[in-house]
Amino acid sequence: MTLLDFARGPAMQVAIFIFVLGIVWRLVGVWALRQKKDLSEARQKGAWIGGIKGLFAHAWPYKPFVPKVGAQYIVGYVIHLGLFIVLFFGTPHMLFFADIVNFTWWTLPGGVITFVALITTVALFIALAKRLVDPVQRLISNFDDYATWFVTTLPFLTGLATTANLWPHYETGLAIHLLSVWLLLIYFPFGKLMHSFWFVVSRYTTGSRFARRGGMA
């Protein structure tokens, strides 16, 4: 079995298994916790509307905070959108998913994907630099923050190296790229990459809690 066979076979299966099981475990682990009902008289009905509003309200900072954290949000958006575009609109990635879901979709030209991947990688390095230099972020950072950065950046670096044909042996390079993605999947349920799910739950929770009070969140 070559390294590529291993990456496409058992490594992928194990990674997906841990990814799915880990996510379910972590979500259920939190949702299974008890929660006392709020017995205070709500100021207004329809708290769930506030929850939905909360999902969007926090997608961009409120006006007074834009000068302070606007740039940080932009870097965050570049990373998230870049990840999304490369993952779903890169032709090799689409073909990989198409094998599983049995349908294909429109993709972007290779050059565009490479450009997006490069921009995203630069944004990831900017985010790391800020974490290392900014006194607040440096203080509050832990192993998970750096590990998350590492497992997110690695697939971009290995992917770019594969596209640019920088590996001495293409198939080994491709295998390394795949393995870096499986590493991301395996780490996903254990660290803050889970914010892909928690951001919805947390924003909705606060939005609905404060909507019933008529307050602002």
């Binding site: 682990g29 916790l33 905070f65 954290v69 739950v201 947390s202 929770t205 008529g214 602002m216 969140a217």
Partner: protein
């Protein structure tokens, strides 16, 4: 290290001393062993880990944005004052003891046990540098309600005997005497009578039955007693059936602020019991931010069922009175900047009520930068104003607040929280601010169109 005992007298007239480095002093209560303190803290931390708390614990991405909304971080520039960092031991306890991966963290010792030294270090962060104003939630991309989590973390700290000395002492005094500032039932009754005579207003005390039960905060009873006369004047004018009661008058709840849920419940139940006994349909809370939080939003949860009466902050009551035409007001003809008490506006939802009242007073309201529900905290809430070693930073926080209000160019400053007002008075003396913070309630009472004038 100082030690709090219940025998130590609380001298509120003594000169307040503050220290430049608040972290140099840690207060402890009781004679628990080091292990027992950690055990108590952990047990009480874990009690609070419900679904909502867990969601917030899981959601943080360590972006540090919350620092930039925190008045304490903004004033000090100290990264330790980053709101989410104030929860570090609480988060550590969650990950190790309660989260879905707790077994994993514990088995491989990936999250270490919280130590007593850490808890002591965090005393300053959880009490001196957080008013639970909740502004950090506004900036958080995950919308984490850090203020509520700080309130929960204080539960563990209280039971571990790790509360700042002054806050503990006033809390214990409130529990023992019914008031944190010596406003015992007798003192309250005397001062109500005095204000009745002074302002020639009928006071209703200890009525057996009344539709409205009026509460007061110790700060008003002791420092701003005109509030009692102002409230009475308005209620009399409206022809309400109302009463003060010596068995349930204190609106402040230091059990909540210090972190003792048991005492919080007892303090709330005293008021709830009294309101039930007299058949009150409405309980009016005075100009006090945290009292609103304690009774309006946490009272029923303490009681264990829905409350059989309504609760209104005085500004909400006044707004309704103005709306319904029950009271008429003379125009004030001044420009006003309004300081929103965080617990009433942003976290309480009554942001528009004082604005309606101000409109009825005919003032030109000039909103400050980042006003209304986005309001910057004055730095005195959450019990912070009681802690002497926190004074230095509190004044810095207030300095920023003064600048913000000065920028409005308004002729008059108004708020609807006596604790904020007390902080403004204390800080303006210290920082030579040339303005005075006024009470919305007193402004209304002073400009009430009385029956004969109608």
């Amino acid at each position: 290290m100082s030690k709090t005992t219940t025998e130590m007298a609380l001298d509120l007239d003594a000169k307040r001393l503050s220290v430049v480095e608040p972290g140099t002093r840690v207060d402890v209560q009781g004679d628990l062993s080091d292990e027992a303190r950690v055990e108590k803290a952990m047990t009480n931390f874990v009690k609070d880990f419900g679904r909502v708390t867990a969601t917030y614990m899981e959601a943080c991405i360590h972006c540090g944005a919350c620092a930039h909304a925190c008045p304490f971080y903004e004033a000090s520039g100290n990264p330790r004052h980053t709101p989410i960092w104030k929860l570090e031991p609480f988060k550590q306890a969650y990950k190790r003891e309660a989260g879905p991966l707790a077994f994993f963290y514990k088995a491989f010792n990936l999250k270490k046990n919280v130590t007593l030294d850490e808890l002591k270090e965090w005393q300053e962060l959880l009490y001196d540098t957080c008013t639970m104003c909740g502004r950090c939630t506004l900036i958080c991309p995950m919308s984490i309600d850090i203020a509520t989590l700080v309130g929960m973390a204080r539960h563990g700290m209280f039971h571990a005997g790790l509360v700042p000395h002054e806050l503990y002492t006033v809390t214990e005094k409130a529990q023992r005497e019914g008031s944190p500032l010596g406003a015992t039932p007798q003192v309250f009754e005397d001062r109500v009578e005095w204000m009745g005579d002074e302002h020639e207003v009928d006071m209703h005390m200890n009525e057996d039955q009344a539709d409205v039960l009026v509460l007061m905060s110790s700060i008003e009873i002791q420092k701003y007693p005109e509030s009692m006369a102002a409230t009475a004047k308005i209620l009399n004018q409206m022809g309400k059936s109302w009463t003060f009661r010596t068995d349930g008058y204190e609106a402040t709840n230091f059990g909540m602020l210090s972190g003792n849920t048991g005492w919080q419940k007892e303090m709330s139940m005293k008021v709830i019991g009294t309101a039930e006994k007299i058949g009150a349909k409405l309980v009016i809370l005075p100009e006090c931010g945290h009292a609103y939080q304690a009774l309006r939003w946490q009272g029923a949860n303490m009681y264990g069922k829905s409350l059989p009466f309504k609760i209104q902050h005085i500004s909400e009551f006044l707004a309704d009175a103005v709306d319904s035409g029950s009271i008429k007001l003379k125009p004030v003809n001044k420009s006003v900047a309004f300081h929103d008490p965080c617990q009433v506006s942003r976290r309480g939802g009554a942001t528009q009520a004082p604005r309606k009242v101000l409109e009825a007073l005919g003032v030109e309201l000039i909103e400050s930068k980042s006003g209304g529900s986005m309001n910057t905290c004055c730095g005195g809430g959450g019990g912070v104003i009681t802690i002497h070693r926190a004074d230095t930073l509190r004044y810095k926080v207030m300095g920023a607040k003064f600048r913000q209000l000065d920028e409005t160019g308004a002729e008059m400053m108004v708020t609807s929280c006596s604790n904020c007002r007390q902080n403004f008075d204390d800080s303006s003396e210290k920082l030579n601010w040339d303005k005075q913070m006024n009470s919305l309630l007193e402004l209304v009472a002073d400009n009430l169109v009385e029956e004969a004038e109608k």
